[in-house]
């Protein structure tokens, strides 16, 4: 008995140590890539490095920085995770860039780090996501997500014939962007008396969870007519879940963004509506604002960029297809 209990504790300790080790390893490996030097330079830290949304934003910011004659470096978290992004921000700050653009992955957890950087004299701009503390950042540029949620609600209601149940399956709570979209979506749906909004589910970015959740929801609400998918992974899980339940096309799916595989899904009719943001405008305007502040010119504290609904009907229109995100510059 005694030895067994000791073994138990030892296993637990080992697990804990291993987890800590894993975290350190992963954060170290992604912590490189930023460098100081030059006269005025801007560093951009995005939410997820490999996400076409952020790639599109980075490309536009880079082009704008070049046009304005300031230095530019960019990096991003490997995952949407505070523990991954925070060391990245801290190491970028160590180079003391004149300007720092960040897409914080949490509304509060990064505030202490950012405050410290701001106090050290770096001008901070928040792009895409933001933090709750209003003293952080001289400018905040993002899509008007509440408005985007309403755009999504209107487009989905139209697809559903303005009746039935509708559910939001999102990634996780506490992300300003998606929280606002859900708020706007719920507000938008309130206009339609024939539509009932079921409480939101969260899938932690796991497509398998989203697939099981949508199927369970179908069991509980046979009149389900529409789903609002929080992101690409979620949309993929929902598409699989609906297909396995034989409900693909019958239950309409609206998703945000216009990433390459989402555009493919729209063509294949597994997603019926995409609400695209304008990441290029966010990146370019963010650089403009920081450069203005370097020159002592006035800065706009808050900028909301537009959102565009894309369906199979309008996706080939060049004025719409320019909103498709890019996988590389």
């Amino acid at each position: 008995m005694g030895t067994k209990a000791r073994d138990n504790t030892r296993t637990l300790l080992a697990l804990g140590a291993a987890a800590a080790l894993a975290l350190t390893l992963s954060s170290c490996s992604s912590g490189s890539g930023s460098s100081g030097g030059g006269a005025k330079s801007i560093t951009l830290i995005t939410g997820v490095k490999s996400d076409p949304f952020y790639i599109t934003m980075t490309c536009a910011a880079q082009a704008e920085a070049k046009a304005k004659g300031v230095g530019f470096t960019a990096d991003g978290s490997a995952q949407w995770d505070v523990s991954v992004q925070r060391p990245l921000i801290d190491s970028a700050a160590a180079a003391r860039p004149a300007g720092l653009l960040v897409s914080p992955v949490d509304t509060t957890a990064l505030t202490p780090s950012l405050k410290q950087i701001q106090n050290a004299g770096t001008k901070i701009g928040l792009v895409d996501t933001s933090v709750t503390d209003p003293s952080i950042g001289i400018t905040r540029i993002s899509s008007d997500n509440v408005k985007g949620g309403q755009v999504a609600a209107d487009a989905l209601a139209k697809q559903m014939g303005e009746k039935g149940s509708v559910i939001v399956i999102s990634v996780k709570p506490g992300v300003s962007t998606t929280d606002d979209r859900i708020k706007g979506f719920t507000q938008g749906m309130a206009k339609y008396p024939g539509i009932k909004v079921i409480p939101t589910l969260y899938d932690n970015d796991l497509p398998a969870t989203a697939a099981s959740q949508i199927q369970s929801t179908l069991a509980a609400h046979p009149d389900l007519g529409g789903v609002f998918a929080g992101n690409t992974n979620t949309a993929q899980g929902i598409a699989t879940g609906l297909k396995q339940a034989g409900k693909q096309g019958a239950v309409k799916v609206v998703a945000f963004d216009a990433e390459p595989d989402e555009v493919t899904a729209l063509k294949a009719n597994t997603i019926q509506v995409l609400v695209a943001q304008d990441p290029a405008a966010i990146g370019a305007q963010a650089v403009d604002q920081l450069v203005a502040s370097f020159d002592g010119k006035p800065v706009t504290a808050s900028i909301g960029t537009t959102m565009v609904p894309i369906t199979q009907q309008n996706m080939n229109d060049p004025s719409i297809s320019k909103y498709f995100y890019k996988a590389a510059c």
């Binding site: 073994d7 296993t11 390893l25 369970s216 929801t217």
Partner: protein, 332 residues
Amino acid sequence: MTDRQLPEWVRRTLRRNEAWTFAILVVLVAYFSISAPGKFFTVYDITQIAVNAAIYLVLGVGMTYVIITAGIDLSIGSMLVLAAVAAGEYTIHHGGAGAGWGTVAVSIVIALAVGAAWGALQGALVATGKIPALIVTLGGLGAALGIAEIATGGQDPAGAAAAHLQNSLGYGKVLGIPWLVVLAAVVTVIFGLLLGGTRFGTHTFAIGSNPAAARRAGIPVGRHLVKVYALMGLLSGLGAVMWLASYGTTSIAGHSTDNLKVITAVVLGGTSLFGGRGSVLGTVIGVFIPAVLTTGLIVVGVQQYWQDVAVGTVLVGAVYVDQMRKQTRERI
């Protein structure tokens, strides 16, 4: 206990490790069926629970073997991703979504081979006895995922699954039962019998109970461990094929918690983390308890955060009951 008044077969059943976890499963199903009449435990609902559990079941079967040897494999999600990426890249360069049956067959072989090879490599390291399985597979977890990310640039490549694969294994049905479920059931039965009724299975238990004694008894412990970890890898590769078939994408970021889910299921099923004890049947039950809980709670309409609380509570409770029973038995 009034054991003496019960018929012999009931007593024998109650003494089985799986009996109590099975009772929990039955209680859960009964509870949800009564609370949501006509919505839970319908043909539709059972099918969807089984489809969603299929991949975890296949992984759980392999994990049962690993844990019975007193080992652990944290890398299963990463092996799955690596195998999926390898198969996916082959498919992309040989026809993509419209690829023919030949490409599908080769991509399946690639997924299985990559999984088995990675598993065997980890098994060989564990078999040296110098590095604990926890560390070997933790390293493997990072390395396999890293290689998959290098190969793809961190993004799920488009056209990773052929339409033929998706329409057959992914969404196809035979006699109303999805192919995914049939495949998982076949794997479970084969490896359940292999564990319970062959020398391979006996050696697995012996190594987990006491590796030194097993070695003295002439069991090639090292070689057997390589086989067990290779089996885990092979089944992760099969999981990758099933994933590509049903989701059509490699989902590089979507498998970070597969290991915890599968280990939870195996432990729920009564397999001892200290090795030497466990069964595939228990794992089947262990896979279905969380699946039934999450589906049931959504159908009943319970707020989502309660689902994690419920799964956690059932896990700790089930293991506690199991340990209590074991102690009682030992005292007798």
